[in-house]
Structures are given as structure tokens and as C-alpha cells.
């Protein structure tokens, strides 16, 4: 193998599993370290810079970081990254707005329209307002937040938390046009904006066209519309027996909300096996905790009505079979259809993108799935001044992805408005800082904590099921947060190897508790992986290969399980190993390329 190029910022970025997995590349270990130092404001600002909504995401993020967390590979549970984000949000001082970028009084003369007031648009607004752009924000709701407001129940995301962080952005001098449904893109284009950003989400829930659907309409609801109805106060109660169809996070929100509106026998029914359900494991767990059973391998067949009133549904039981390519086929069992009685049905079987308000012939092209054609990496549509982001761009994902889109789209819009090419984009801000204080003394907390993942305290079920506005999770207090923060393995503190200093004494290889380091003859990667001191089977993780050493061997470190304890550097007599903190921050609009 060629020696690893550690000057490529992506090399060490990849070692920081959580940050790499985060769509917005939040510097996770750094903010966790700030929490352990009780620097909550600094931790909040670091988060805010990357993901704009630390308080919101600290509650409802999809947490792609946690399955990626290295701790989950050396023990059972990952670090509670999401809950720690909430710790910094809960403990920030009042008036943190003073640390946000200043909004210039003199504008730059460019006008931007943002359609939809969800996370993607708000991110664009937060990035462009400090650069002097004049921003108009349109939404059909009467407040900002988009689907964070209309579809996330308050028992998971209290209204005041949402409002506060949405207001941080709106208070940057954004001109809001609420209660304003944009029904014509042509009209928007006619207003002469320098750029238009579409962040309207995936606003249509998929329907289920089965026998009885039309007749039973009064008791059958599309999940996301129903959730919005609850949040906006149009829906106050539900039947005693409720069936929720679908296995995603929306289904979980629907069933837990139904439990709070009078649903006593609430069931989740999914077509697929339980393991294939799309919902996050913790959301499934929360639903089960609220006495909501899951019926898997049940394909809905018909709505059953008596005298025009919905009385239940019939399902066909199936078995999942997988072919060689892992494709799933649901094979019906030779059994009678199952009847489940119910008073109401909530459909949470997927979301659709819909742009009925974008007229054909404007030059904005869509693909066969109804998604806009975008220039890769720029979020620019086929009409140059129109940009898309969030669920509107690539279909339903999650908040943190929408934020990541927003940041990138803001860069594109800024470049576009200056007449610069969109593919000459600014790069990430990186730095590598030595962590050594004394001979074997480090600036970071290198002792790996043995503590297990802290459980999040919750409000009593008897109370939360009665009050749909009462938040279930109470979050970590400062002590528990600190304890959890020490579980972080500091994957951003890199082991940097200086081959010319190495005397090949093997001290590092001997001392490494995870057997990451080997001194071996070089070879092709696949073959090299078989010759290391411990199995190196996770090819998603790099091998760190040094320049050849005096004996002709090379140092090979499998980055997979390194816990960044610094023992290799402590046991190195010549400082060939050094612990250096790698800081990586994604580019921001206005940053020079």
C-alpha cells in the first residue's frame, strides 16, 4: 500500500466516525469535550454553527452518528451523542444570541426568496443574512419551523424549544410571509429575486387505495396530516381502537399521539418483518413502552365497514423471503385473512414529493419520481436561479440532512449571486493541534471511562399519556451529562506517526490495548489486512500505513478500534507517535474558496 496521505483532510475526518456520519459534519467529540469541561455555551455555539438547531436536534435527531460511534464497536452501547447535544442546549446561558454573527445594517442589494419555513430554508437564511442578503421567507403556516412544527408531537419536542431556535434565525432580520401559500412559481420568478430556494419538504402523505377506503374516509386519515391536525388543534380525540399502518418514525409518532388522545388499543401493523422497519430502534422502544404492540408481516387488504361505519381491517399474513441479491419478497401464507377491529386507521406508509405549484415550462425539470433535477453538490436546479434543499430536493430524509443541504445551498446561492462558478466551492476549515503538555501529559482526558451508557430519565407514563404536551424525556442533568461525556473516545485526537523518528522498538504495538498497531512487510491492502496482529475485517475503516522504516517494514495501524487513549504516544521513546487534535469544520457561505 502507498503511505497514507494524512494531509488530505478527509483522512482524519473519516477516523472521527460520528462527525463523518453526521450529514452536517458536526464536530461531535469537540462539543462533547466542551460539555465535560462544563463549557455549555461554547458547546452550544459549536453545534449551532454546524446544525443550527441544537435544542431541537438534541431531542428528535435521527442520530446517524450513534450507530457509527466507535464505542459501539468496542462495547455494547454508543455514546449518547444526541442526548449530550440536549445537555448543552438545556444549560446554555440566556442571551447566547449575542454570540451569533452580526447582521450588517447595510445590505448587499441581493434579494433571496425562501419557500417553506422548515429546517432547510431556515439554515439558508441563517447563513445568508449575516452576509447582507435581504431575505423573504414564505410559508403557509402561521409560524416558522415547517414539519418540525407540524409533524413532531410536543411530547417529543416542546413548542417553546422549537420556537426559541426558530426565532434565533427569524430575528436576523428575515422578512416573513406566513399564512402565505405560494401557489405559483411563475409569480415568484416574476418578483425578480436574485435567487429562490425551495425548501417545501415532502408535504404529501401516501394514501392506501384499498376496498372501503372511500366509504370509510371519515375514520381513515393520512398520518402526517392527522399529526398536523393534532398540533394545530383541529383534532382533539381519537377512537378507542386505532390501527396505525406503517413502520417508520411517522408511524411511531402517530401511535404515541393516538395513545394520548384516547386511544386505548393502539396497534402498529406493518407489511414487513419487524427487523426491516424503518423507524429508529429507540422510537420503536418508546412506542412499546407505551403499551403499543407491533404486528409485523401483515399486508393490509381491505377496510371493513358496517352500515357505512368503519369497524376494522383485514390483513393477509406473509413471510419475507430474500433472494441472492438481498431483495425482499413478501410471500402470502396460506391462511385466512386476519381481521382486526378498529374505530380509526392512521396511514403512515410513506411520503411523496409534490410540486403542484411549479408550472411546467419554467425550465425547472423533474425526474420520473417527481424530484427536481439538481446539479450534483450544488442544489441548483435546471433553472439557474432556483435552488432546492431538504426533503424537497432528494425526497424524505430528516432534519439534520435538511440542515446539511441548507448550508451547501447557501454557499451555492452566495456564489451564484456574485457571478462565481458554483463548482469552485470553499473547502473545510481544518487544524491539527499537538495535545502534549508534559512528557506523558495530555490536554485531553485520555483515560477511557468504563461507565455504561447513561439512561435518560423520563416523566411517569401515567402522566405523559394524559397530557400530549408533556415532554416524555427529561434529558440528562449536568452530572449525568458529564459522566456520559467522558464515555467519548476522543476520536478527533489523532495518533500521528512520524516514521523518521521510529526506532522500531515495538513499544507502541506491545502497549496498545486494542492491538491496533503492527510492524510488518508492506503489501496490497487486502492481503495486508490478513497479516496484522489482530483481525482487520472492517474495510470501511482505513489502515494507516507509514513510509518504510529502517528495517524495510512499515507501521500499519488499523484505525477501526483505536480508542485514542494515547498509550502508544506515552510508550514511544522518540515521539514518533504524537497525539494531535484534528478539527474539521464544513465550509460556510461567504468563506473564500
Amino acid at each position: 500500500m502507498q503511505p497514507s496521505d494524512i494531509n488530505d483532510p478527509e483522512y482524519f475526518h473519516r477516523v472521527i466516525d460520528c462527525q463523518y456520519a453526521c450529514p452536517a459534519h458536526t464536530p461531535v467529540p469537540e462539543y462533547i469535550r466542551l460539555i465535560s469541561e462544563r463549557r455549555y455555551d461554547d458547546a452550544y455555539m459549536l453545534n449551532w454553527h454546524s446544525n443550527v438547531f441544537p435544542g431541537i436536534l438534541g431531542r428528535v435527531c435521527d442520530r446517524p452518528c450513534e450507530p457509527a460511534c466507535r464505542r459501539g464497536r468496542v462495547e455494547k452501547d454508543a455514546v449518547a451523542i444526541c442526548r449530550l447535544k440536549r445537555v448543552c442546549a438545556d444549560n446554555r446561558e440566556d442571551g447566547i444570541e449575542a454570540r451569533f454573527p452580526a447582521i450588517p445594517a447595510a445590505k448587499n442589494g441581493k434579494r433571496i426568496a425562501l419557500i417553506g419555513a422548515g429546517p432547510a430554508s431556515l439554515t439558508v437564511a441563517g447563513d445568508l443574512a449575516p452576509l447582507g442578503y435581504t431575505i423573504d421567507l414564505y410559508d403557509d403556516q402561521d409560524m416558522g419551523g415547517g414539519f418540525m412544527r407540524s409533524q413532531l408531537p410536543s411530547f417529543r419536542l416542546p413548542d417553546e424549544v422549537l420556537q426559541e431556535e426558530v426565532d434565533y434565525i427569524l430575528n436576523m432580520g428575515i422578512h416573513t410571509h406566513f399564512n402565505h401559500y405560494v401557489d405559483s412559481m411563475a409569480a415568484m420568478l416574476a418578483k425578480g429575486y436574485d435567487a429562490i430556494f425551495v425548501g417545501t419538504g415532502a408535504p404529501r402523505g401516501r394514501d392506501l387505495d384499498l376496498p372501503g377506503r372511500k366509504e370509510g374516509d371519515a375514520a381513515i386519515h393520512v398520518g402526517i396530516d392527522w399529526l398536523a391536525g393534532v398540533i394545530f388543534g383541529h383534532v382533539h380525540k381519537t377512537g378507542r381502537r386505532v390501527l396505525v399502518l406503517g413502520g417508520g418514525n411517522t408511524a411511531m409518532d402517530c401511535c404515541r399521539t393516538a395513545r394520548r388522545l384516547g386511544g386505548e388499543d393502539v396497534r402498529i401493523v406493518v407489511r414487513s418483518p419487524r427487523e426491516d422497519m424503518k423507524a429508529s430502534p429507540w422510537e420503536i422502544e418508546d412506542a412499546l413502552h407505551e403499551d403499543i404492540p407491533i404486528y409485523d408481516n401483515h399486508v393490509p387488504k381491505e377496510f371493513v365497514l358496517e352500515y357505512g361505519k368503519l369497524t376494522g381491517m383485514r390483513f393477509e399474513k406473509v413471510r419475507a423471503e430474500y433472494d441472492d441479491k438481498g431483495r425482499r419478497k413478501l410471500v402470502p401464507l396460506d391462511e385466512e385473512w386476519v381481521f382486526m377491529p378498529c374505530d380509526e386507521v392512521l396511514l403512515a406508509v410513506g411520503q411523496l414529493n409534490a410540486f403542484p405549484w411549479i408550472e411546467a415550462g419554467l425550465g425547472i425539470d423533474f425526474d420520473e419520481h417527481g424530484l427536481p433535477l439538481l446539479k450534483p453538490g450544488t442544489y441548483q436546479s435546471t433553472l439557474p436561479q432556483v435552488f432546492f434543499g431538504g426533503d424537497a430536493a432528494y425526497g424524505p430524509k430528516n432534519i439534520i440532512t435538511a440542515v446539511a443541504h441548507g448550508h451547501e445551498a447557501a454557499i451555492s446561492i452566495d456564489l451564484f449571486c456574485q457571478g462565481l462558478p458554483l463548482d469552485e466551492r470553499p473547502g473545510p476549515t481544518v487544524s491539527l493541534t499537538g495535545q502534549q503538555m508534559g512528557r506523558q501529559d495530555w490536554l485531553y482526558h485520555n483515560q477511557v471511562s468504563d461507565t455504561q451508557r447513561q439512561a435518560v430519565p423520563t416523566a411517569p407514563k401515567a402522566k405523559t399519556l394524559r397530557d400530549r404536551l408533556m415532554e416524555v424525556e427529561l434529558g440528562f442533568d449536568r452530572d449525568r451529562g458529564r459522566k456520559e461525556s467522558y464515555r467519548c473516545l476522543n476520536c478527533d485526537v489523532q495518533t500521528v506517526f512520524y516514521a523518521q523518528e521510529c526506532i522500531e522498538c515495538d513499544a507502541c504495538a506491545d502497549a496498545c490495548p486494542l492491538t491496533c498497531i503492527s510492524f510488518v512487510e508492506n503489501g496490497p491492502e487486502e492481503e495486508l489486512r490478513t497479516r496484522l496482529r489482530a483481525p482487520a475485517e472492517n474495510t470501511a475503516q482505513s489502515l494507516y500505513v507509514s513510509e518504510p522504516l529502517a528495517t524495510g517494514k512499515v507501521m500499519v495501524k488499523d484505525e477501526n478500534l483505536c480508542v485514542h487513549c494515547g498509550i502508544c504516544a506515552e510508550r514511544c521513546p522518540t515521539a514518533a507517535w504524537q497525539m494531535q487534535k484534528f478539527f474539521y469544520q464544513t465550509p460556510r457561505a461567504g468563506q473564500k474558496a
Partner: protein, 350 residues
């Protein structure tokens, strides 16, 4: 500074045949100087015991005084241990072995602890061919007292301080062969591919297995002019053969193309395979073994590998014809069989 190691270990490293994980053979984190050769030997001991699936509670580790003798703290944390007075490890090992010959005795000593203050103890333990592994972590200097030359420092070798050593050195391997050790080897802390199989063979051999392991002192004696430095040893080392140790439960399948392979079967039917580029002097012959060592010395080379084996060696218990039962398990009835037995014995001498 780290005072403890993280508790996590590589989940892909499977437990050995005995069901023990590698961690069951580890000890505390080392407090020796960073880069000390002794830490590599520590790691090799852990690896060898792990690979042999030795039950940790059946091993007794013993040492004297010195940097080397601190190392038992860093390996086999679940085994028995005794830290003896300076140079007195062999006496303690002898006593322990007499009391219970069923444990595996692993003695660790340094060049000072063995070749100076403990020389008298060392030679007699070798003479008795005590069933133990006797490792000398040999760095040619007194690391714990600022690096003065030890008795194994080669004449003319220069430590970091610059003045040459004027005295003749003691070759502990040659002495051990001469005095009747059943197994003698020399290795280098910087080469675990050789050291680990050597240790495994030594642990399986009955009788005294002596291993002289050159282990550079990074603080005082690792400059290129020192014959005990990483640099010098790598440049001047010669392996007399490639060692392969096969425990008695397994069979060997590997075939070697060129050269000669010598197989030596030990008491427990384990086999040591020695692969040499060409047929050389036999290592089961004491005179040839000493000659080979001297030949290499004359050429300025350092010979490593298995230097001598006596596959039929008799250990102290064989020589003294002690009873099968470990002495510490004998009860009062066996130890004091009574006046009638005494009378019988006395009768035998009349």
C-alpha cells in the same frame, strides 16, 4: 500519564483453547522507560502463554531486583508471583519447585541480577537443571542506577556516556550450556517472531530452559556504538535457524523448500522444528553448540535462536528421585511414617 489501560480489547481476538482471553495473561501498565526492550519481552511472554493456553493459576513468576525484575508486575496478573532479594530468584524458585513441582516456574532476571550479584545462585540452579524457564533480560547495563556497565557488556562497547567498557563480558548462554542446562536459547526483544516460539519451546521443555534475551536500554545504552542497542543487534544478528514450536496436540503441515529441518521431540511429545538454510552443527551436541557460539563471536556476529537442547535432560526431581506427589501435598502420615518405618530404614543400613 496513564496509570491504567483501557479495559477494552479487540473483540476479534478469540479466546484460546483453554477458554482464556489474552487479557487473562496481562498485568498492570508498564512503568519502565518508554521503549524499553523489557516491555517487548513482557508482551512476548503474554503471547506465548496465551498461545499455549496455559492456565494462569498454574504459573508462578519469580524475579529478583532490577528493571527486569519489575516486569512480573506487567504480565500474568492472575498467576502466582514472588519478588525475591537481589540475585536470589533461583533459590526461591528451587524451594518453590521442591515444594510443588506441578506449577510452571517462570523466572525473570537481569544481567546484573544474574551475572553479578546472583551469579552463585544462577550457576547452581543450572547445575541442578531445575525445571523452570530462566529469562535474562540482558541490556548490558545497570539501568536502575544510571547505566553503569554490567558484567555482560561486551568489551569495547560504548554506552551513551561514551567511555568504552574495558572488562571481558560473561556469555551466560555458554555458561549455561557448560553447566548442564537442558535448553539454551538467545533472542532479541525486537524480534517477536523468533522470541515467541522460543518461549513456547522453553515453557514446554522439562529441565532448566535458559533464555538470554538482548533487550536494549533506551535510556542509557541504545546508541549505535553499544553492542546492546536496537541498531547494533539488528545489524549483527544471525539466526542459527528458524524456530517452529509445535505443541504435542498438533501436527505440522508446513513444508520447507530448501535447507535442512531438524526436529527435536520433547518430553511431552511437543516438537521443536529448526529450519536452517543448510545443514549445520547439531544443536543437541554441547561441544558443537559452544563452538558455534565462539565461531560467531570471533566473526563479530551475535548468534540467536535455539543454541542447545538436550531432549533427554533430567530435571532436579529426576536426579534426586523425589516422589511423584508434590511435597507440599504430603500429609503428616506420609512425612512421619512412624517408628516402625524408621526402624526398617535403619535396619537397611546395618
Amino acid at each position: 500519564m496513564s496509570f491504567t489501560r483501557p479495559t477494552f480489547r479487540h473483540p476479534g481476538i478469540q479466546p484460546n483453547e483453554g477458554g482464556y482471553s489474552r487479557r487473562d495473561y496481562e498485568g498492570l501498565i508498564s512503568t519502565l522507560c518508554a521503549g524499553c526492550g523489557h516491555d517487548s519481552i513482557t508482551s512476548a511472554i503474554i503471547q506465548a502463554c496465551f498461545e499455549l493456553s496455559l492456565p494462569p493459576h498454574r504459573i508462578a513468576k519469580l524475579s529478583g531486583i532490577g528493571c527486569s525484575s519489575k516486569t512480573p508486575a506487567y504480565y500474568l496478573g492472575k498467576s502466582h508471583g514472588f519478588n525475591a532479594v537481589h540475585g536470589r530468584m533461583p533459590a526461591i524458585a528451587t524451594g518453590a519447585n521442591m515444594a510443588n513441582h506441578e506449577l510452571i516456574y517462570l523466572g525473570v532476571s537481569g544481567d546484573g541480577d544474574t551475572a553479578s550479584i546472583g551469579m552463585g545462585q544462577f550457576v547452581h540452579a543450572v547445575r541442578r537443571n531445575l525445571n523452570m524457564v530462566y529469562i535474562v533480560m540482558n541490556n548490558g547495563c545497570y539501568g536502575l542506577t544510571k547505566g553503569q556497565y554490567s558484567a555482560t557488556a561486551d568489551k569495547g562497547s560504548r554506552s551513551r556516556k561514551g567511555a568504552a567498557n574495558l572488562l571481558e563480558s560473561i556469555d551466560l548462554c555458554e555458561m549455561a550450556i557448560q553447566l548442564g542446562a537442558g535448553f539454551v536459547g538467545r533472542s532479541f526483544s525486537g524480534d517477536k517472531e523468533q522470541l515467541v516460539p522460543l518461549l513456547k519451546a522453553a515453557l514446554s521443555h522439562r529441565g532448566l530452559s535458559f533464555l538470554d534475551v538482548i533487550s536494549p536500554c533506551v535510556t542509557f545504552n541504545n546508541n549505535p556504538e553499544s553492542t546492546k542497542s536496537y541498531h547494533w543487534v539488528r545489524e549483527h544478528r544471525e539466526e542459527n535457524s528458524e524456530v517452529d514450536f509445535v505443541p504435542f496436540r498438533q501436527t505440522i503441515n508446513a513444508s520447507y523448500k530448501d535447507g535442512a529441518t531438524e526436529a527435536i521431540t520433547l518430553h511431552d511429545e511437543s516438537v521443536i522444528y529448526l529450519h536452517k538454510p543448510q545443514a549445520g552443527p547439531s544443536i543437541t551436541d554441547r561441544r558443537q553448540a559452544i563452538d558455534t557460539l565462539e565461531d560467531h563471536k570471533a566473526k563479530g556476529r551475535l548468534l540467536t535462536g535455539v543454541l542447545y537442547i538436550n531432549p533427554d535432560s533430567q530435571d532436579t526431581h529426576d536426579i534426586l528421585n523425589t516422589c511423584q506427589e508434590p511435597l507440599n501435598s504430603l500429609g503428616a502420615a506420609e512425612l512421619c511414617p512412624g517408628a516402625a518405618v524408621l526402624a526398617q530404614i535403619n535396619e537397611a543400613f546395618r
